[in-house]
Amino acid sequence: MADQTLNAEGLNCPLPIIKAKKALKGMEAGKVLEVRSTDPGSIADFAAFCTQTGNELLSSNTEGNIYLFEIKKS
């Protein structure tokens, strides 16, 4: 279960990443952020974002037109 949810639906590149970063900034290490996006590019982008930043991508799922990510803050 996520500690915080970011609704990035309707937003296009690079806003989901930038808003996710902003949300993570305000969270403690170990807490989990859920991101909801409608940008198909976010599947690759959140994987790359997590590789670079060291935050852990716990899950990456698609539900219809919605892309769901769970990111654990490092």
Binding site: N12, P14, L15, I18, K22, A48, Q52, T53, G54, S74
Partner: protein, 166 residues
């Protein structure tokens, strides 16, 4: 790191040379995204890129000489013949259409991206020579920028993992 994240010491620099509405996007998208990915980012604004630092942005674009630009129109994608692009009012129309398209597709405005760049402590350097050349005023520009020249940029570039010219 700016926000106390654990050290990703990578860095990126971008030379920003174009200031039309469409060309303003690549440097700001890459700059803000790199900053979000914990890179140290420097943007050097020169020539037609420099007005992107003005407080008040009034960005425009032209379809003139851009055969690759096809805008969705009446259910199709249309390129504009140069002779039409050159007519009065066509650039204004294309600019309005592009801004509406950005909004409709959830693409951030340049103002928003620039604000995100400032917030994420992207280092922004205004080219002093361009400032003199075009008689622009530092006072018309946003806070938090620095003035510098080619040597300032080269110094940054030698220390950056990624150097881009846009």
């Amino acid at each position: 790191m700016a926000d106390g994240d654990f050290g990703n010491a990578k860095s990126m620099s971008i030379i920003v040379t174009k200031g039309s509405l469409d060309w303003a996007y690549p440097p700001f998208i890459l700059g803000t995204t790199a900053a979000a990915m914990d890179l140290e980012v420097t943007m050097f604004f020169t020539f037609y890129g420099l007005p992107l630092l003005n407080k008040k942005l009034d960005l425009k674009m032209t379809t003139l000489g851009n055969p690759a630009m096809k805008m969705p129109m009446a259910g199709m994608h249309m390129a504009m013949p140069n002779i039409v692009s050159a007519l009065p009012g066509v650039d204004r129309g294309a600019t309005t259409m592009m801004k509406n398209l950005f909004k409709k597709k959830g693409v951030a405005s340049i103002e928003d991206l620039r604000e995100a760049a400032v917030e994420s402590e992207v280092r922004m350097i205004a080219c002093q020579m361009t400032l003199d050349l075009f008689e622009m005023d530092r006072k018309d520009m946003i806070d938090g920028i620095e003035l510098g020249g080619a040597a300032t940029y080269i110094d940054v570039a030698t220390k950056s993992d990624i150097n881009l010219f846009i």
